[in-house]
């Protein structure tokens, strides 16, 4: 059940109506949990057992922390729980990657051995996301930041709440679990805000992101056939696609949660207007970058051990962040690339940024920084999107070196131009306008009309076949 489908709309409307019709808070939570289970089982009925197993282990471990007085036993439990979760993730996500890499290694060494790959190994939906959520829960309870929840339904809902189950945002227990305990009251204003957020997300996903694959896919499939201009356009198109696809999903998740009386963390904040790569990671997939910071970078030592240790920690964090995205060396390279950019910015960029000038010079410098960051991010997306290093190399070479080849259809060029313009205007509006303040001034017919218009436009401009979310594969 994908979000922008009529099937999901029917599901959500039923869940929403029954949820608010139920008079008891506990019954509502049980209903939400059942709905979340049904949502997950619509992808694969049996894999729900995996998520239940993972959640049960962490639920029990967190409760045991209260009884365990010995530090050693506590640590043993903590590492046992983290190890268990990561083993599940590693098995389902990285087994074939590791076996394939081992095969390549054997081949390089001239050893004639090929370990068989698992042909039918399914990647459970959302495993990367809920694994991080369960880890953050156990760690937070262990560190004393949060008390273990006694009610298994509350805990299960934290992991399985359907708006964020498939592709985040990665929710922290201290943000979500108190909301589960709090009694909800139907609020028309909250409903309208939720509708606005969800409709913007639907527009991003269905109207912008889903129109990009016909431009991006053929170019990244055979980049050697296309001219430099086409490669640039396809790279820009992918930059737009991945942003609109993922932030569109996050917006829809946030909007739906809002309509059900829950607040999910903001996951994107005009990332392509970031003036440095450090700022980019504060604006892009915020729930992941903050998770990596709090549960990986800081425990590794963060910036406390001197410059070299900081660069090392940055590289390790981003390498693992890259690997988290997908079981492929191109993702690892993408992580390393961002780790290197972050280290470089830490080494040289911070001084330059501190040297802020006002007026035209300051604005010009800011614009140049934004453009340079955007360009660096675009080049990073090449490795994120390409299937092999060879393809990525061809794309980067043609980005740098003007080459003749096939040109894109003028219609596609126009489409990319309009999409880039839409994202740019969206970023401008998000930076300089306060929509909430503006919206409060609108009379009810204008606001209702604007929402209806946005929905109609999204429905009319949706491509025939809806594409799955890119981040669902992670």
């Amino acid at each position: 059940m994908n979000f922008p489908t009529t099937q999901f709309l029917g599901f959500f409307l039923t869940v929403f109506a029954v949820y608010w019709l139920l008079p008891w808070h506990r019954a509502r939570m049980v209903w939400l949990l059942l709905a979340s289970c049904a949502f997950y089982m619509s992808w694969h009925p049996w894999l729900i057992l995996l998520i239940l197993l993972s959640a049960s282990v962490d639920y029990v471990v967190a409760l045991l922390f209260d009884d365990v007085k010995s530090l050693t036993w506590g640590r043993l439990l903590l590492f046992g729980s983290i190890g268990f979760n990561l083993s599940l993730l590693a098995f389902f996500k990285y087994t074939n990657f590791m076996l394939d890499s081992a095969n390549s290694m054997f081949a390089l060494l001239g050893v004639e051995y090929r370990s068989p790959l698992f042909d039918n190994l399914l990647l459970p939906l959302g495993i990367s996301f809920y694994t991080f959520e369960t880890i953050s829960y156990v760690v937070d309870v262990y560190m004393g930041r949060f008390r273990a929840v006694r009610n298994p339904i509350d805990y299960a809902l934290y992991i399985m709440f359907f708006p964020h189950l498939a592709a985040g945002p990665i929710v922290r227990p201290r943000d979500f679990l108190p909301q589960v305990e709090r009694r909800k009251r139907f609020d028309w204003y909250r409903l309208v805000v939720g509708m606005q957020i969800a409709l913007v997300g639907l527009f991003k996903k269905a109207v912008i992101a889903d129109h990009m694959p016909p431009v991006v896919d053929p170019v990244f499939k055979c980049p050697e056939l296309y001219s430099s201009a086409s490669i640039w356009l396809a790279t820009l198109a992918y930059t737009v696609q991945i942003y609109c696809d993922f932030s569109g999903y996050s917006d829809m998740a946030m909007g739906m949660a809002h309509m059900l009386g829950f607040k999910l963390p903001v996951n994107f904040h005009m990332p392509y207007f970031a003036a440095s790569i450090t700022e980019f990671w504060r604006r892009w997939h915020i729930s992941l970058s903050s998770w990596l910071r709090d549960y990986l970078y800081v425990p590794l030592g963060g910036n406390r051990g001197g410059k070299l240790a900081t660069y090392r920690n940055l590289m390790i964090t981003m390498l693992l962040g890259g690997l988290w995205h997908g079981a492929s060396w191109t993702f690892v390279f993408w992580g390393a690339y961002h780790g290197a950019l972050l280290s470089l910015h830490r080494a040289f960029g911070r001084g330059a940024q501190a040297d802020t000038a006002g007026g035209v010079v300051g604005v010009s410098r800011h614009v140049v920084c934004v453009l340079a960051t955007f360009l660096s991010v675009c080049i990073g997306w090449v490795f994120f999107r390409a299937q092999t290093f060879g393809d990525a190399g061809t794309v980067v070479t043609r980005l740098v070196w003007p080459t003749v080849g096939l040109n894109l259809h003028p219609g596609h060029v126009l489409l990319v131009g309009l999409s880039v313009l839409a994202v740019f205007l969206g970023h401008l509006a998000g930076t300089f306008l306060s929509w909430r303040r503006l919206e409060r001034r609108l009379p009810a017919p204008a606001l209702g009309g604007a929402l209806a218009f946005l929905l109609l436009l999204a429905l009319l401009l949706m491509p025939e076949a809806s594409k799955g979310f890119i981040y669902f594969q992670f």
Binding site: T6, Y189, V192, R440, L460
Partner: protein, 354 residues
């Protein structure tokens, strides 16, 4: 609750009402447009076939109605040749107005469109088979998408429920601009393109059904293993319960009735099928179907000829579609054995009446 919060809440409630009202209003207006002036956008095959007919100066003498099984399995040009053999005067114009996923409901739609254009053929050849007159209708989802209007909703309700389309029908009726968005955009794009050029009438009359529809047919050769069993599960599922009192059977009765009123001869032809397909017709299905055909022929003066077992399995590329050589053989067989005599009798009668 503060006054400000109360005001915000009231305004939000009004916004939701406005949102829902405006959205529904636009969709309903869209559904009226797509049910009436823009209906041709929804039913591409019908539009293309009728445009093909409109571009022809001659009116059809024989009309073929049915599904892709007749569309692919009967060639109007071949039939016309056989009918013209040993007969002076113009070769008759045999118009294949079959549509994919067709049954009597879509046939009635096409036939009404032909009558509206003033077409009064001398002979209507109508495809029939047990599944196409079953109340558990295989093709209800296609009818809903292509031709259903608000006025069809009550008479089709039971059939829609039987075909498990009750939730889908709501989506189709309440969000038509979304359901038909691609056809709408295609129509906008077509405005920019130049008008298609037409060939001479004689060439056009000899075109096959898929040539008229501009569909490139690729026949699997050699026929893949198990190809004859493809699609049988669906047919088996729908034949599990069998009754001939649904919307399709009623549409067939109405076609027969309209033809009688206009003095058009109707020939109901049991469409050629492979042996695995025919094996699905249990005795009770077969007897109910034949009883319905018998009733129809008696009450409406039409004829029924059963060609279901007339073609060997080698002539089919799946469970019910013929290869081109099968099409040629079936067209000649039907024309020689049945249509020629009917046509001559009808044609002579028409000439003498003139």
């Amino acid at each position: 609750m503060t006054t400000r919060k109360l005001l915000l809440d009231r305004r939000a409630k009004q916004s939701v009402v406005w949102f829902a009202g405006l959205f529904l209003l636009v969709q309903l207006a869209g559904s009226w447009l797509l049910d009436h002036p823009w209906l041709p956008l929804r039913f591409r095959t019908a539009t293309r076939l009728l445009a093909h007919l409109d571009a022809n100066h001659r009116r059809p003498d024989v009309v073929l109605l049915g599904s892709s099984r007749f569309g692919i399995g009967l060639h109007g040009g071949t039939i016309a040749e056989v009918l013209a053999e040993g007969h002076s005067g113009d070769k008759p114009f045999v118009f294949n107005s079959c549509v994919e996923a067709g049954d009597a409901i879509s046939a009635e739609f096409m036939f009404d469109a032909l009558l509206e254009r003033g077409v009064r053929p001398q002979l209507v050849v109508m495809e029939v088979s047990p599944e196409t007159v079953n109340a558990w209708n295989l093709w209800m989802n296609y009818h809903m998408r292509r031709q259903m209007r608000w006025e069809d909703f009550p008479p089709w309700l039971m059939d829609l429920a039987r075909a498990h389309q009750h939730t889908r029908v709501l989506g189709y009726r309440l969000t038509p601009l979304y359901v038909h968005r691609c056809q709408l955009w295609e129509a906008v794009a077509q405005r920019w393109r130049s008008a298609p050029s037409f060939s001479r009438d004689a060439d056009r009359e000899a075109q096959t059904w898929h040539e008229v529809l501009d569909v490139k047919m690729t026949y699997p050769r050699p026929r893949p293993e198990g190809a004859l069993l493809v699609g049988l599960d669906l047919v088996r599922r729908y034949l599990r319960q069998y009754r001939t009192d649904g919307a399709s059977a009623q549409a067939l009765t109405r076609i027969a009735d309209k033809c009688r009123r206009h003095g058009i001869e109707v020939l109901l032809v049991g469409v050629p099928l492979t042996s695995p397909h025919r094996a699905l017709y249990r005795p009770e299905v077969e007897s109910a179907f034949l009883a319905f055909m018998d009733c129809l022929t008696r009450e409406h003066g039409c004829r029924f000829v059963d060609y279901r077992a007339s073609m060997p399995d080698d002539f089919f590329y799946d469970n019910h579609h013929l290869y081109p050589e099968g099409c040629d053989a079936f067209s000649r067989k039907l024309a020689t054995e049945t249509l020629r005599d009917l046509w001559r009798a009808k044609h002579l009668h028409a000439v003498s009446a003139e």
